[in-house]
Amino acid sequence: MKKIIFLTLLALSIAACDGDRIKPDSGITESDVENNGGAMAGGLDDGAGMDGAALDGGKLVSYEEGAINDPENVLSEKLVYFAFDSNAVGDDYVELVKHHGKYLSFNVNASVRLEGHADERGSREYNVALAERRAQSVKQLMIYEGATDAQISVISYGEEKPVAFGGDEESMSLNRRVEIVY
């Protein structure tokens, strides 16, 4: 079976040439996904796409089932970081979240849990609410890319499950995160 593998930097243009199977970012709507989900999965299995290889320092983009476990694939990145007291998905992470959204749209049996976290500053319950909003922001972006509500669950832990304990700015930035857990 051939894989459809796109170079990260070429993904959009290739997708445009290959519009029957993979729509470009702006072209996918929820109804498209519902109507064509099976066709898209078939397209992947047919494998009439391009082979690709990672650019130096780049990551592969493939939405094939199980691609989330490939360390070479962009989908192996599953952490989204946030600015202080913000629930907006930053520019550095929008593409990553979109890739995961597309993965979910192409793999309708896949599901994901988004775990929202906050740093230790401020009040605990407010941080739980803030971290839920972070996870909801990620979820909305995934849904925009064709994932469905049923595929995505959200849980917020606020500041209760830190991963870095230094108390410095770096540690706190590592704790302001949404973990994408398949």
Partner: protein, 434 residues
């Protein structure tokens, strides 16, 4: 996928028969103060028995009174005399030593194995005994008697309700390489005699005492999501009260104990609801796209005070508990004001004030709307008014370790309550001992 198997141990301890756990608490008086009443606590005389280490009545009273911020601590070495009965008091000497009150007493082991605790409060300026009580106690209840004496003394002199003979609840967390263990604990108000009500590998948050001191409401993630429970501390029986999709947080008892205010996001945004515990009827109080959370009830039960980000940053608001009532913004100074606790007399709100990277406990006087920052930070949180209106318990960090601290409402008296190990956070002080 999610490992849903969580180790949950629900404590079924009967707290009234609590074993005397070893002392785990160290109280540091971190800051001095002015204007407190000079009061001498004379070491009680032990008759027929050696002093019980965990029931050293006069030391417990001394520690309680010092913690209240209203009394000037007198070191045992500075006592000019140690009278154990009213006729022995040399009033003139005490007066010239600048003392206003003396607490004295004795502990007598009786033939039936019980203790008789006698105590007297002597007003030096009045030249007479103003309080005198005799208690019966066992070695297990000596510390309770001591806290009761503290309450009598505190109430007599200040006119405020005493709250030393109740309990505090708090959450401890111990971290290991494989994860962390959270415990919901209950202890005497000085941190002694801790009991564990709940142990979990998942977070436990936001313990809150019912007004009668019989139950705790809290949030537990033991079931793989946030869930609000109420837990009877005497029987160990607990009930799930909210397990909706999304947030289930910030439980707060109404003053009559019949409702819980809580934060739910089941309808899309974090909003505040009230739950009638008898009928399970849920009423939505706030409806806004912003974060609304951390509700507390005013003592008259007519309104709630809560944190909302509707202005862009978290600030405190007050709103009547009625449909379509309008919120009133309470805080304007500082970019971050959250996590309100209201005093039992309804006059003050303690809250977290954040500026830059520094988070401190502040107090707002509702009548004048004037606010004052009480602590130094940098990561102070979870303020909780003591039922005597005069102290605020809060969580802080000391050398990157989470500890509990207390500050008097005027900010003059600060104390650190340091537990032996683990992180200690989210204190809640019961208004009554059930």
């Amino acid at each position: 996928m999610i490992n849903m198997i969580k180790k949950i141990i629900v404590g079924l301890f009967c707290l009234s028969f609590a074993s005397m756990a070893q002392a785990v608490l160290k109280i540091d008086i971190t800051e001095g103060f002015e204007g407190a009443l000079p009061i001498a606590v004379i070491p009680f005389k032990w008759i027929g028995a050696a002093k019980e280490i965990n029931g050293d009545v006069s030391s417990i009273v001394l520690s309680d009174l010092a913690r209240s911020g209203k009394y000037l601590h007198v070191d045992e070495n500075d006592l000019i005399d140690m009278p154990h009965d009213s006729p022995d008091v040399q009033y003139r000497s005490w007066r010239s030593a600048g003392m206003d009150y003396i607490v004295s007493g004795s502990v007598t082991l009786k033939t039936d194995g019980k203790y008789q605790v006698d105590f007297r409060l002597i007003a030096i300026l009045k030249g007479k005994q103003v309080l005198g009580y005799s208690f019966s106690a066992t070695s297990e209840t000596l510390s309770n008697v001591a806290h009761q004496i503290s309450d009598y003394v505190f109430t007599h002199i200040t006119g405020l309700p005493g709250a030393f003979n109740t309990r505090i609840a708090y959450v401890t967390v111990q971290r290991s390489k494989t994860g962390s263990t959270s415990r919901l604990q209950v202890s005497d108000t000085d941190g002694y005699n801790p009991q564990t009500l709940l142990t979990s590998d998942e977070p436990i948050m936001s313990p809150a005492w019912s007004p009668d001191g019989s139950q705790l409401a809290y949030v537990s993630f033991e079931g793989g999501q946030a869930e609000i429970f109420t837990h009877n501390v005497r029987s160990g029986v607990r009930k799930s009260r909210a397990k909706y999709k999304g947030l289930n947080g910030s439980p707060a008892w109404s003053p009559d104990g019949k409702q819980l205010a809580m934060t739910l996001s089941k309808d899309g945004n974090p909003d505040i609801y009230t739950l009638n515990l008898a009928t399970n009827q849920l009423q939505r109080i706030t409806d806004h796209w912003a974060i609304d959370t951390e509700a507390v009830w005013t003592p008259d039960a007519k309104a709630i005070i809560y944190t909302s980000s509707r202005s862009g940053k978290p600030q405190l608001y007050k709103q009547d508990v009625a449909a379509n009532s309008r919120p009133e913004r309470l805080t304007f100074e500082g970019a971050y004001n959250a996590s309100a606790s209201i005093s039992a007399d309804g006059k003050h709100i303690a809250y977290v004030n954040g500026e830059g990277n520094v988070y401190r406990i502040a107090v707002l006087e509702l009548a004048t709307r004037s606010s004052k920052i009480l602590t130094d930070g940098p990561l102070d949180e979870s303020p909780d008014f003591a039922p005597n209106n005069s102290m605020i318990l809060f969580a802080s960090q000391n050398n990157r370790k989470a500890v509990l601290s207390a500050v008097s409402v005027d900010g003059r008296q600060k104390q650190r309550l340091e537990f032996s190990d683990g992180e200690v956070r989210e204190p809640s002080w019961a208004a009554a001992r059930h």
